[in-house]
């Protein structure tokens, strides 16, 4: 084993008194003081997370959108510039290599954000799929549009930019106000065309799952209105060497708004309450999207893409499906615990915790389809004790808009 890596913000976390954990090969803050306080801050004010361990890939060049249509589950050629979408990297047999967020930053410029632990898997999947991506053929001998995209070599390229990038997530109901107050952050998008002018924008203009370019102390920042907490919030992509100053500036702007730095412990309970899957728990190579409730993410209408043939075949009607389970009391089921109907094991818990927001235990679990209807009374085997649990629709928590 090699020592876990640290992010560009490591000394900031140390100075803030963080406890660390090894996550996906990275030494990351698990909490700064209290994970419950950090969780509450995100629900009621705001929290600031270092998520620089996540992997970033730039997919650029001619037909970049077409290539991603082929390589991933979604339809990226139709994604408007400045918008983002949740998607999946599938295996040939229709399982899940990883879940990703894909941003279209320009006509031929996409950013793919993957999980830290799947950096190599996603990187090699994109590289392999790029090698297999057919070069275009001209529609006729003379391309009257004057496009030379079919010329050999006019292929998109994939670049792993994880090592030079930092990613900071500002999440919570006060995130927008805090972002607008960050000293030195200029919400000005550089001109797209050579003779264009920079375009000023405001936080309020940035819709959910939208991204825009900005600048911080002379460094480009991509501001994305996305997150993994179930709250409003932003993810800020910046060059790693400029990240510490941005982190400091956001913390300073957030001080009067109740912003707390927050670790992975809070991030996990927040995403669980929001019913969001985590790779290795709710997602994996042997789990198909529909089982995890992600059938809508797969654009089956596309011509062809990796995984389509397998997913077009009839699916096993007995395949377990992901559900939410709620119980009373304070004893939470954890990943790996059995789900029972009478004396029969009908499923397995993938994530579970005592919900800090709701005050009762919640869990996600894969269960037999016959037991998946909301309201079904089941039980959890919590280290030998049977705890009653009821199937419920996800998410457990939904913010007021």
């Amino acid at each position: 084993m090699t020592d876990p890596r640290t992010t560009a913000l490591h000394t900031r976390h140390q100075a803030l008194g963080a406890s660390f954990t090894d996550f996906g090969g990275w030494l990351m803050p698990v909490r700064y003081s209290s994970d419950l306080a950090e969780h509450r801050a995100v629900r009621e004010a705001a929290g600031l997370f270092d998520i620089s361990h996540m992997a970033e890939f730039l997919v650029t060049g001619p037909r970049a959108g077409d290539f991603l249509d082929d390589a991933l589950a979604g339809r990226f050629s139709a994604l408007p510039i400045g918008k983002a979408t949740y998607s999946l990297v599938l295996t040939e047999s229709g399982g899940i290599v990883d879940d990703v967020i894909v941003y279209r930053l320009g006509e031929e410029w996409f950013l793919v954000i993957a999980n830290a632990g799947n950096r190599d898997a996603v990187g090699s999947a994109l590289d392999e799929r790029l090698r297999a991506f057919p070069a275009p053929t001209p529609a006729s001998a003379a391309d009257e549009s004057g496009s030379f995209a079919f010329v050999a070599g006019a292929q998109p390229s994939v670049e792993d930019v994880s090592d030079i990038s930092a990613l900071i997530a500002l999440q919570g109901p006060r995130a927008a106000q805090i972002l607008a107050d960050v000293s030195g952050l200029e919400l000005v998008a550089p001109p797209v065309a050579r003779d264009g002018v920079p375009e000023e924008w405001a936080v309020a203009d940035l819709g959910s799952y939208a991204a825009r370019a900005a600048a911080f102390a002379g460094t480009n920042v991509v501001v994305c209105r996305t997150g993994y907490t179930g709250e409003d919030g932003f993810e800020l992509l910046i060059a790693a060497d400029a990240a510490p100053a941005l982190w400091d500036a956001v913390l300073e702007a957030g001080e009067q708004h109740g912003l707390l730095p927050a670790g992975l412990a809070a991030r996990d309970t927040l995403r669980l309450e929001a019913g969001m899957p985590l790779y290795g728990h709710e997602l994996g190579r042997h789990i198909r999207p529909a089982q995890a409730g992600l059938g809508r993410v797969v654009a089956m209408g596309k011509d062809d893409f990796v995984g389509k043939a397998a997913l077009a075949e009839a699916q096993d009607p007995a395949a377990r499906v992901l559900v939410g389970l709620v119980s009373e009391g304070r004893r939470a089921a954890r990943a790996g615990y059995a789900v029972l109907a009478g004396d029969d094991i009908v499923g397995e818990v993938t994530s579970g915790a005592l919900s800090p927001t709701l005050g009762h235990p919640i869990a996600m679990a894969f269960v037999d389809p016959a037991q998946a209807e909301p309201g079904t009374a089941l039980a959890l085997d919590v280290r030998g004790t049977r705890i009653p649990a009821t199937v419920t629709a996800l998410p457990f928590y939904r913010r007021n808009r």
Binding site: S19, V30, L36, D268
Partner: protein
Amino acid sequence: MTDTTALKYTAEHEWIALDGDTATIGITAFAAEKLGDIVFVELPGVGSEVSADAVCGEIESTKSVGELYAPLTGTVSAVNDAAVDDPSLVNSDPFGQGWLIKLTVDPAAVDGLLDHEAYAKLTGGQA
């Protein structure tokens, strides 16, 4: 303030304070810090018998489950209901208000436990 250098310890991160034949037991600040915010504590009933090194309770944080091992063989003479009602006491005052159980024990058995120096060594000087 509890004088933590006068306590006895186990490798399972319990502390033991002996007064006559009554041993008061809790988990160390090091263990509480590692667990994170403690949200659930389950303790044995008063009058029950516990055996040294056997699991006698559970301590859960939002992130994980920790087991409470009986450091000594004995009879439970008291449990800290305040910590059951408000498990955050174990985080905020692990050596004081966050104590967990009291056992009636053979005082001589305490000699087999770790002293502060040995426990500090075990935790790399963090306790």
